[in-house]
C-alpha cells in the first residue's frame, strides 16, 4: 500500500497505487432538493448504453428513495456494516480549506478496514446476488413515518424521504480499480473517467465486490463486467450537436428537474462545478468515509434528519444546507446555470442586475438580485447566458393554440 491524500477525509490514507490525479476530473453537482424521481436520467442512460441483451438488470444511472430504497438492495447499509458504521467519527475543530475542508475522518476506509482485518485483499466488499439487482425501485416514495406532530416543520421533518440519484462516481481512488487483480480497470489521465477494458476483463467480479457504490455490473451474456462510461464520446466532444465542444452526459442533459450540472473539477475558482464544491461548499461527496474520493457531489435535502445526512455526506452537511437555504447572490446566479446548455461550462461570469426581492428566511435576511450569469466553453467562447429570474416568454397570439 502507498499513502495518498484524500481531501474528503482530510488526511492521507492507504491505497494500492500512488496518488495520480487527472488533469481535470469528471464531476457533477446534484441538487437533491429538486429531484422529482421522474427517472428520465435513468432511461436516458438505459436507452443509450444498456438496452442490449444481458443488460436487462443494469441501471448505470438510477434514482432510489432513501432511506428504504437501494439498487442493489441495501447496498449502502451493507457496505457501512463492513466498515463498521459506528466508526464514522470526524475531527472537525480544525480545517484546512485545501487539504481538509470537512475536517479529518478518524475511522477506517474500505481499504484500511481490509488491511486492519488482514483480509488479504485490497478492500472490503461483497457481491450482490441477482435478486438484489432485480427491483431497482423497491421502497419508492416510502417515508419514514414517525408521527410526532400534525405537521412536519423544518429544519427536520419527522416524516421524510428523499431521492438519491446515483451513477458511478469516477472516484479519484476507485475501489473497483484497486480490486481488479488484472489491472483491467483504468482511470483516464485526461478527464479522470474510470473504465473497464472489455478486452482485459475476465469476469472475476472483484470490481463488483469492492466498489462500495456497487456500480460495476456483471453481464451474463459476455461473462465480463461493465460499468458507466461517463458517456465519454460526449465528454470528448464527439457528438456533432456541440460542434466539437465537450458535452454533458446523457443522464445529466436529460434531467427534467434541472437538478444536475456536470463539468470538471479543476483549480479554476470560476468553474461552476469547482466553485460549488470547493468554494461555496454546498455540494458534498456521497459516503466520503468509504475512502474512494467520489466525484458526484450532492446538495443535501434540507428536510431530512441531519444525523442521517451526516452519515451519508459527512460533516459538511450543516454548512451546506445553511448556505443552500439562504443562498448568497453568487450561489443563486451559479445555480441558474443548471441545465441551461448541454455543452460543458468551464467558466462563469456574473453581470450584476437590480434587486427584485427581499425577505427573511429562518431569521436571516435574504435579498434576490436579477443578475445575469454567463457560461463559457473550453475555448473561452460564450455558450450560455441566463438570468436569476427565469425569463418569461409570451407566445404570439397567432400561435396560442398551436402545440
Amino acid at each position: 500500500m502507498t499513502l495518498v491524500h484524500n481531501w474528503h477525509l482530510g488526511r492521507r490514507m492507504e491505497y494500492p497505487y500512488f496518488e495520480s490525479r487527472p488533469k481535470r476530473q469528471f464531476a457533477a453537482v446534484f441538487n437533491i432538493n429538486r429531484c422529482i424521481a421522474c427517472q428520465t436520467c435513468t432511461m436516458a442512460c438505459k436507452s443509450a448504453w444498456t438496452y442490449n441483451k444481458g443488460q436487462e438488470f443494469m441501471w448505470w444511472n438510477n434514482v432510489e428513495t432513501k432511506p428504504y430504497g437501494g439498487y442493489p438492495q441495501s447496498w449502502d447499509v451493507k457496505t457501512l456494516r463492513l466498515i463498521d458504521s459506528d466508526n464514522n467519527v470526524w475531527y472537525t475543530d480544525d480545517k484546512d480549506e485545501k487539504l481538509s475542508p470537512y475536517g479529518v475522518y478518524e475511522g477506517d476506509t474500505i481499504f484500511e478496514t481490509a488491511a486492519r482485518k488482514n483480509l488479504n485483499q485490497w478492500a472490503v466488499g461483497y457481491v450482490p446476488e441477482d435478486k438484489e439487482w432485480r427491483a431497482p425501485n423497491f421502497g419508492e416514495d416510502v417515508a419514514v413515518s414517525k408521527k410526532q406532530d400534525e405537521f412536519s416543520t423544518l429544519p427536520e421533518h419527522s416524516r421524510w424521504f428523499f431521492y438519491l440519484q446515483r451513477l458511478c462516481n469516477h472516484c479519484t481512488y476507485p475501489g473497483c480499480l484497486a480490486a481488479c487483480p488484472r489491472k483491467a480497470i483504468y482511470k483516464r489521465k485526461e478527464d479522470g473517467i474510470v473504465l473497464i477494458d472489455q478486452k482485459r476483463c475476465r469476469g472475476y467480479r472483484k470490481c463488483v465486490e469492492q466498489c462500495p457504490y456497487k456500480k460495476p455490473m456483471y453481464r451474463g451474456l459476455t461473462r465480463i463486467s461493465e460499468k458507466c462510461i461517463a458517456c465519454y464520446p460526449r465528454i470528448e466532444g464527439k457528438d456533432p450537436l456541440t460542434e466539437g465542444r465537450p458535452m454533458e452526459t446523457r443522464c445529466m442533459a436529460a434531467c427534467v428537474g434541472q437538478i444536475r450540472l456536470q463539468g470538471f473539477l479543476d483549480d479554476n475558482p470560476k468553474n461552476p462545478v469547482t466553485w460549488l464544491i470547493r468554494h461555496a461548499k454546498v455540494a458534498l461527496p456521497l459516503y466520503p468515509q468509504f475512502g474512494t474520493e467520489p466525484n458526484i457531489y450532492y446538495i443535501p435535502p434540507r428536510w431530512a434528519p441531519r444525523s442521517y445526512l451526516k452519515q451519508m455526506f459527512g460533516p459538511g452537511v450543516d454548512e451546506a444546507i445553511d448556505k443552500f437555504m439562504v443562498p448568497s447572490r453568487e450561489l443563486l446566479a451559479v445555480m441558474s446555470l443548471f441545465r441551461m446548455t448541454q455543452s460543458i461550462i468551464f467558466e462563469y461570469a456574473i453581470e450584476q442586475g437590480p434587486k427584485v426581492f427581499e425577505t427573511v428566511i429562518h431569521g436571516k435576511k435574504f435579498e434576490m438580485f436579477n443578475d445575469t450569469v454567463i457560461g463559457y466553453g473550453e475555448d473561452g467562447k460564450e455558450i450560455v447566458r441566463t438570468t436569476v429570474e427565469e425569463p418569461i416568454h409570451v407566445r404570439d397570439p397567432k400561435h396560442y393554440n398551436s402545440i
Partner: protein, 325 residues
C-alpha cells in the same frame, strides 16, 4: 487507524504521515510488490516425484471424450499434486480442494493430461452474478528451462522475463459447446430476463432482433474478448503470463479438452499437439523433460482469479520416447 487526530493536529500532518508510514512499512515489510508476499526457498525447489508421460498409441477417437480415452490412460501412472489456498498475491483465496491426481500420455503427436479431483458440486455456468465456474489450469515454463533451487523460476504465474504458458479449462466453455450458437445465452439461466426475470419464455415483449442485433453494445464481443465470443470451438484457453496480473489470452488458440463429472469428482482431459508453430507455446519433445504446475477453481466456493487451490511447486514431467525412437 483509530487514533486521536487532536494530537496529530497539534504536531502537524507530518507526524500523522510518519505514523501511517511506519505502520504501513511494518505491515507490508515482507511484500515484494504491493499485495504480493515473497516466496519461500521451498517453492523454488521442484517436487521430487516425476510424472511419466507415457507413450501410448492413442488412436484418437472421432469424438474426443473422457470415456473413449479412458483405456489409453489405463497403464499410465499418475502423481498426486497437493493443493492449498493461494496466499501470496491479493486477493488470497481457495483452500477447499486438497489435491488432484494427474496422469499424462502422448502418442508422438498429441499430449494428453488427465486431471481428477473431488468436488461435491458441478458448477458449469457463470451467467448469474453470484455463480462461478469450476475450472482447472496447467502451467508450463516457456522455452527449455531447467528449474533448480539455484535458478529461481516462480511456480506462481511465472515472472518477468520468465514467461509461462497456461492452459485453462473452463466448465462453462464445455457447456457452451453443446448449445446452438456455441454460447450458453442468458436465457439458459433466466428464460425471460428482459421481462423482469419472469419465467415465461413466450412473452410478447421480447424483441429478439432489437435486443440481439447490435454487437457493438456487447463490449466484450466488440473487443473480441475470447471469454465473450460465441463459437470458440474449444473448452481450454491458451494463455501466457509473466507474473501476477499479467495473464493474457493468446492470439492463437491451440489447446482443447473434455471432461466428465461423476460421483462428486471431475475428470478433465486437456490435450494439444506436442509441437506447435506458436512461439508463445510450450513445446514437448518425446524423451525430453519439462515442468508443470497447476491450479483448481471450485465455483461453489466463489473461486476465481487468484482465489484458487494451487500447487506451490513445479512438478517435473518426462515424456517417454516413441516406439520408433
Amino acid at each position: 487507524m483509530k487514533r486521536s487526530y487532536k494530537l496529530v493536529k497539534r504536531f502537524g500532518l507530518a507526524l500523522l504521515s510518519c505514523a501511517l508510514l511506519s505502520s504501513a512499512t511494518a505491515v507490508y515489510a515482507e511484500e515484494t510488490a504491493p499485495g504480493v508476499k515473497g516466496m519461500s526457498e521451498e517453492e523454488f525447489t521442484p517436487a521430487k516425484e516425476v510424472l511419466t508421460v507415457k507413450y501410448v498409441d492413442v488412436k484418437k477417437p472421432y469424438h474426443m471424450d473422457v470415456d473413449s480415452l479412458k483405456g489409453s490412460f489405463q497403464d499410465a501412472t499418475g502423481i498426486t499434486v497437493p493443493l492449498q489456498m493461494q496466499d501470496k498475491a491479493f486477493p488470497n483465496g481457495g483452500g477447499s480442494i486438497q489435491g488432484a491426481e494427474v496422469k499424462a500420455i502422448h502418442d508422438g503427436i498429441t499430449i494428453y493430461f488427465q486431471i481428477t479431483w473431488n468436488d461435491p458440486t458441478r458448477n458449469a455456468q457463470a451467467i448469474a452474478i453470484q455463480e462461478y465456474r469450476d475450472a482447472v489450469a496447467l502451467m508450463f515454463p516457456l522455452g527449455a528451462v531447467e528449474i533448480t533451487p539455484a535458478e529461481h523460476f516462480s511456480p506462481r504465474m511465472g515472472d518477468r522475463e520468465k514467461p509461462v504458458n497456461l492452459w485453462h479449462w473452463k466448465s462453462d466453455w464445455e457447456a457452451d459447446l453443446l448449445v446452438k450458437g456455441e454460447l450458453e445465452d442468458v436465457e439458459e439461466r433466466y428464460p425471460n430476463m428482459h421481462d423482469d426475470f419472469n419465467t415465461n419464455p413466450y412473452s410478447p415483449y421480447y424483441h429478439r432482433d432489437l435486443i440481439t442485433s447490435i454487437a457493438v453494445l456487447s463490449g466484450g464481443r466488440a473487443a473480441d474478448n475470447l471469454i465473450s465470443r460465441p463459437g470458440r470451438g474449444r473448452t481450454v484457453e491458451d494463455l501466457n503470463a509473466e507474473g501476477f496480473g499479467t495473464l493474457t489470452t493468446q492470439e492463437h488458440q491451440d489447446v482443447n479438452g473434455c471432461s466428465k463429472f461423476e460421483d462428486g469428482a471431475w475428470t478433465v482431459i486437456i490435450y494439444r499437439s506436442l509441437i506447435t508453430q506458436d512461439p508463445h507455446d510450450v513445446q514437448f519433445v518425446p524423451g525430453g523433460k519439462t515442468f508443470f504446475n497447476m491450479a483448481v477453481w471450485n465455483g461453489a466456493e466463489q473461486d476465481r482469479n487468484g482465489q484458487k487451490n494451487i500447487s506451490t511447486q513445479w512438478h517435473p514431467a518426462v515424456l517417454e520416447k516413441v516406439a520408433w525412437q
